[in-house]
Amino acid sequence: MPAGTDTQLQGLVELAKKGDARAKSLLIDHACDRLLKLTRKMFRGFPGLRRWEQTDDVFQNSLIRLHRALATVQVESVRHFFNLAAEQVRRELLDLKKRHYGVYGKARNHHTDHQPSDDAGGSLSKSFEEPDDLDRWAEFHAAVERLPEELREVANLLYYEGLSQDEASEVLGISIRTLKRRWHDTKQRLHRVLRDEPG
């Protein structure tokens, strides 16, 4: 599904719940699209690796897995579907990183991009800007995984699924003010965890 149609997503979920195969297929397309965009973002500093990813079947398999996981679930509610989709997307992102940039990852030696590796290194303890290497991205995704459910849901909808705050508050059945407060809490907690701050 092309970007910019998020306002239709809830309607699609309602249709999918009633068994509309086309609606479900479009929802899955949306999740695949988010996975592709997030992967590109994660690999942005690594054009060589990104190119490798996209030309290799590995990423295609990742898309297939995501598709299959979502296709087999029964859509219970808007909230349920988006959380599930976000979690699957996050799992695939972590998996991609682990496979191709882990200690034994076969793309380890593909890190030959214009950014010298010492530039991309460093640790999150120094700052919490947008991650610029795969380790940082992996830490970020893993930290989201460990958030309390209430906060993780907010990150799922706003970041992984790309919903607007209005849409997310509607999906969760909470006021926009409550959503904003939870999003603030999410950011504060991620910041603390990823900078190894106490408390």
């Binding site: 092309p2 970007a3 195969a21 086309r22 297929s25 899955i28 397309d29 695949c32 699209d33 988010r34 592709l36 965009k37 997030l38 590109r40 973002k41 942005r44 054009p47 060589g48 990104r50 190119r51 490798w52 996209q54 030309t55 295609q60 898309l63 297939i64 598709h67 299959r68 296709a71 030696n109 593909h110 030959t112 991009d113 214009h114 950014q115 010298p116 700052s127 919490f128 800007e129 947008e130 706003l158 970041y159 790309g162 003010r177 904003k180 407060r181 603030h184 809490d185 950011k187 504060q188 991620l190 910041h191």
Partner: protein
């Protein structure tokens, strides 16, 4: 901290955010002026929200520049009190480029700043930039200003909206004629610079920008040379791929190093691939230093011979000048064109008709009860979803393979056929595309979208009667479709071009009449019809049409130049001279 304090902090943070969204950065001390004990904690939390603002940025689709990237926190927002940095539009190993606004002259500009620590001496950088600023050529991005800000310096240049050749290579298949045309533009710029004693030394697609007039312009003159003086500037892999042997080996470089790099760029523009493309810099260096680049099979033979010469290991074996290189590729490009397909692809690409797949919503219903393959293999639905995602992201080869796989599972899947046809259309295989569309239309003869696509395929195959017949059918089926008149105009323009090239000027003129009926606002159509009148010896009418073209677009040197020729033919020498002068001014 008590629960009440937590509650108050949360409310204050919401309040800060509301104000921030309205453009006010209110300090914690003001927000919590009645609770001095909370100021420090509130200030910290505000800092966290600022640090994590990237989590709210939309994740866009562009693989190179995901979204309007924020200004680096290391960079000031306004330079010299004049250039307001609005958006980071590109960055490489050495520098960052911003879209900026010149508040004095009130125009958009591009600002390039070396990254911290990448520059040894701001003085030498500035001196180099000033020297480059003296280069004035229509195919060189002009330098407006050079300045100092803190301990770094910056260069202000014209902002070119069309993006870089690197973007085009990634997103489109580029027609060979277009590729050769752009390479000639850059060769002209290089010849001029070389004659003025300036060598570029960083010719690569990212440094070639495509202007609004469709011509290629060269950016970043001399910048790389300054950068390499630091001794610590390691060229990026992206740069390495275009470097000549002597550059890599640290031997003396001259204008022929630029010719080598331009040949590599042309190779990539033609084929989408590089002569040397190893993903590891050490291997890549070895390949370049030891090997002689051989053009890939995708390069037409005669053009390949020119490229081989330009990419020779020894500079002495290369072309003696950029002009010589340009004239050889131009000649090879024109002479090898038996099917005359190049201009068609070029024109279609210019008119934005070639890339038709991305973002199109398909309304055809999913076939009921798809036949499934082995249980452990991907289902039809999965294969279609993945292929469709690939197509939306313009990965046409991958997408095509996916749709083919879908058709192996369900041979009559019309959606797969239609989408595969689109992929084939976008990879310049209109014959194959037309076959897919034929199969769809055999089952659904009134599918207007497929008729439009097939019409484009026919146009690319130069089967104009069929292309026109398909579009006429679309006009009957969907009389209000806004795109159809433009597409009809294009097809008649293409046939007109073909007839013109064959010397059938009357036929070409008649087709331009129809083109103008469908697209009365496009200046270029009047100019083309004027050219037909000129060839037919109807100079008064030619002048009328060129005048219509000038009236609609007064910035095209070409229109004035052509009118000048027609005016000379009817003895209006003073008017002709004025037009000639105007054409020269615009070219400058």
């Amino acid at each position: 901290m008590t629960n009440q304090d937590e509650e108050l902090l949360a409310e204050l943070l919401l309040h800060w955010e509301e104000l921030h969204e309205r453009g006010q950065d209110t300090p914690a001390s003001e927000l919590a002026k009645n609770r001095l004990d909370l100021i420090k904690e509130l200030d910290r939390r505000i800092g966290v929200l600022k640090d994590t603002a990237w989590l709210d940025n939309p994740i866009e689709d562009d693989p190179e520049a995901d979204d309007p990237r924020p200004i680096s926190p290391h960079s000031p927002r306004t330079l010299s009190g004049r250039y307001r940095l609005d958006e980071l539009i590109a960055q490489g190993g050495f520098a960052e480029v911003y879209r900026a606004y010149d508040t004095e002259l009130q125009r958009t500009v591009a600002v390039k700043m070396p990254k911290p620590g990448r520059l040894e001496s701001t003085e030498s950088f500035q001196a180099e930039a000033r020297r480059v600023a003296r280069l004035k050529h229509e195919n060189i991005v002009p330098v407006f200003d050079v300045g100092l800000e803190g301990d770094t310096c910056f260069i202000v240049t014209e902002y070119i909206e069309g993006g870089s050749l690197a973007d085009r290579i990634v997103s489109h298949a580029i027609a060979p004629k277009q590729a050769v045309g752009w390479a000639c533009d850059i060769a002209e710029a290089l010849e001029y610079a070389h004659l003025n004693g300036v060598i570029h030394l960083d010719i690569k697609p990212a440094n070639i920008l495509i202007g609004a007039n469709g011509r290629a312009k060269l950016a970043d003159f001399g910048i790389a040379k300054s950068a390499t003086k630091t001794g610590e500037f390691a060229p990026s892999l992206g740069t390495l791929r275009y470097m000549s042997t002597e550059q890599l080996e640290g031997r003396p470089t001259d204008h022929r190093s630029d010719i080598y790099s331009l040949a590599v760029v042309l190779h990539e523009t033609l084929t989408g691939s590089l002569p040397y493309s190893s993903a590891e810099s050490n291997v890549l260096r070895k390949e370049i230093v030891e090997g002689t680049a051989l053009p890939s099979k995708g390069v037409p033979r005669e053009l390949g011979q020119v490229l081989t010469k330009a990419m020779a290991r020894s500079p002495h074996e290369r072309h003696a000048s950029a002009t010589q290189f340009a004239s050889e590729i131009r000649r090879a490009g024109v002479s090898r064109n038996p099917s005359s397909r190049w201009p068609l692809f070029g024109l279609l690409a210019c008119l934005g008709l070639l890339v038709v797949g991305a973002g199109i919503a398909f309304t055809m219903a999913q076939p009921a009860g798809p036949k499934r393959n082995e249980p452990e293999t991907a289902s039809l639905q999965e294969v279609m979803a993945v292929a469709t995602t690939n197509m939306h992201h313009e990965q046409y080869a991958k997408a095509e393979a996916g749709f083919t796989r879908a058709l192996e599972i369900d041979t009559e899947n019309l959606e797969a056929l239609k989408k595969r046809g689109l992929c084939r259309l976008n990879t310049e295989r209109p014959d194959k595309a037309a076959m897919d569309f034929d199969r769809v239309l055999a089952r659904r003869p009134d599918d207007a979208t497929t008729l439009r696509y097939r019409s484009k395929a026919y146009a690319l195959l130069q089967d104009f009667p069929r292309a026109i017949a398909d579009l006429e059918q679309v006009m009957i089926l969907t009389p209000k479709a806004a795109e159809v008149p433009g597409e009809m105009a294009t097809i008649y323009a293409l046939r007109s071009l073909e007839r013109y090239e064959q010397g059938d000027y009357q036929g070409a003129k008649d087709d331009m009449d129809t083109t103008i009926r469908f697209a009365p606002e496009a200046a270029v159509n009047y100019s083309r019809r004027g050219a037909c009148w000129f060839q037919m010896g109807e100079y008064e009418r030619a002048v009328d049409d060129f005048t219509d073209a000038v009236r609609r677009d007064s910035h095209q040197a070409e229109f004035y130049g052509k009118r000048s020729l027609a005016l000379q033919k009817i003895g209006r020498f003073e008017d002709a001279s004025n037009d000639q002068q105007k054409a020269e001014e615009l070219t400058r």
